[in-house]
Amino acid sequence: MGGQLKLQPRTEQKVIQVFMYLMTSIAVLVLVFILVVILKNGLPQLNLEFLTKNPADMGREGGILSTIVATIFLTFIALLVATPLGVGTAIYLTEYTVESRITRIIRFGAECLAGIPSIIFGLFGFILFVNKLKFGWSILSGGLTLAFMVLPTIIRTSEEAIKAVPPAYRLVSFSLGSTRWQTVTRVVLPSAIPGIVTGVILSIGRSIGETAAVIFTAGSALRMPTSLFSSSRTMSVHFYILAKEGVSMPKAYGTAAVLVISILVINIVTYYLMEKYIKRKS
């Protein structure tokens, strides 16, 4: 050491600290900027009419009611399918087996599934549900595609929640004469419910915000959905089309605001639940 050009360690520390501070400020400011722009331009668009009227004139006029309804239906179907599958898988992995090749394959598979881009889910849903199974562009096709997409999230959060249940509870339950299934249903799951709910809520957020997987499976018809087989446009798809095609910037901002607010609320609730139930236990 001892090169004269080299900074003193203390000076170096100061410089680095200022640099890090700047970088962090940039990162946080950019993210907050996005939020502020959307809310500033979007909130003035929001009123009862916007939320309770269907879009008219390709979205130039009216509100976004049909897209809200479509989003809710799609999300509901996705969770209806993904929750039992995901929670069941998590129970199997944590309670019914020891670490083995099968569990490693299942976990690796879930991780891979989590990494697949949503456009691939869209392609897959299009070919399987829309084409081969002849569901067409519909709530059902879109919901099932989303179900597959959020499945890994539900598996992972449920697994973590179940693992956070103290092992002593299981021991006590067995010593009182429970079978494994009784232990799972009467002791483990009740304690793990908040964590599992967290995963489900997180998945709701992802389903609401998803565009690429939905646009090719649920379609983009601007009608109020009437059945599982109606083609329909979700909020995020609607927003994408309004913005990309330059249909109406005010309406685009309004839709974005509804989208962002609902997702933020969902994520805040999740974050709160997570702090309260999962992290503290483990």
């Binding site: 970088m23 993210l31 990494g115 299009f126 565009t211």
Partner: protein
Amino acid sequence: MTRLEKNDRLVRLGLLMIALSAISVLAIITLFIFEQGTPIMFRYGFKSFLLGQDWYPSEKSFGLLPMIVGSLMVTFGALIIGVPLGLASAIFLTEFSHRRLTRILKPVIELLAGIPSVVYGFIGLMFLVPFIRDNFGGPGLSVLAASLILGIMILPTVISIAIDSIRAVPDSYREGSIALGATRWQTVRMVVLPAARSGIIAGIILGMGRAIGETMAVIMVAGNAADIPGSILAPVRTLTSNIALEMAYASEEHREALFATGVILFIIIMILNTIANVTSTRQRKK
């Protein structure tokens, strides 16, 4: 065997079935994408797909090289922007800032991970694209715009995983280093970061996967011309946008070619996943 034990076996079998069907989703997706996408690749030859520079589906010319290069360019660009910003923020928030500030900022950053990608794309389209056009020239819709937006989008992923792995480094390491007279920064550079390395790398790879798989945001700001971009100010089309842009009206061989695009994307992602998986298992073993 008693009745209860028999029931328990049945339950175990049922749950195994559920777990296997959950995981067969991956197999089914792989199967369908490959089944739809590979025949055309065999018909025209892999080389013409991977190295062909011309994408004119109506004239049966399916060169994907511009899109492959495009995806790699914007992903690389996203990493150049996202990784330094993300790492610096993570280090600052774990090692230098006040605890209270971290307690506020970390959740804020994590919450922002939930903003839908279309919203990022929209902001890029409204602010970034005109800014680039007016200050640097070109159409604005460009490699640069896509890289910037993707770099910002991967920030939450990179930051929160890096924070978690830096926090996992035992305090005794830090105390030992400080006791030997190192400054805080020397400690971070020589002790903390090496110890947290594989977790940080796994986070970067995940961010990379997110960037390369992102579709809607990229479409909105990248310009989508199917040519190899000559500069970072030129428009670019990625593998994902290629699928999303043309899927709505493609048919027959054109559609198959889009699935072939999916196959290539799929393979790239799987390679990344495997690397991330191996790196993070290695950290856990340590």
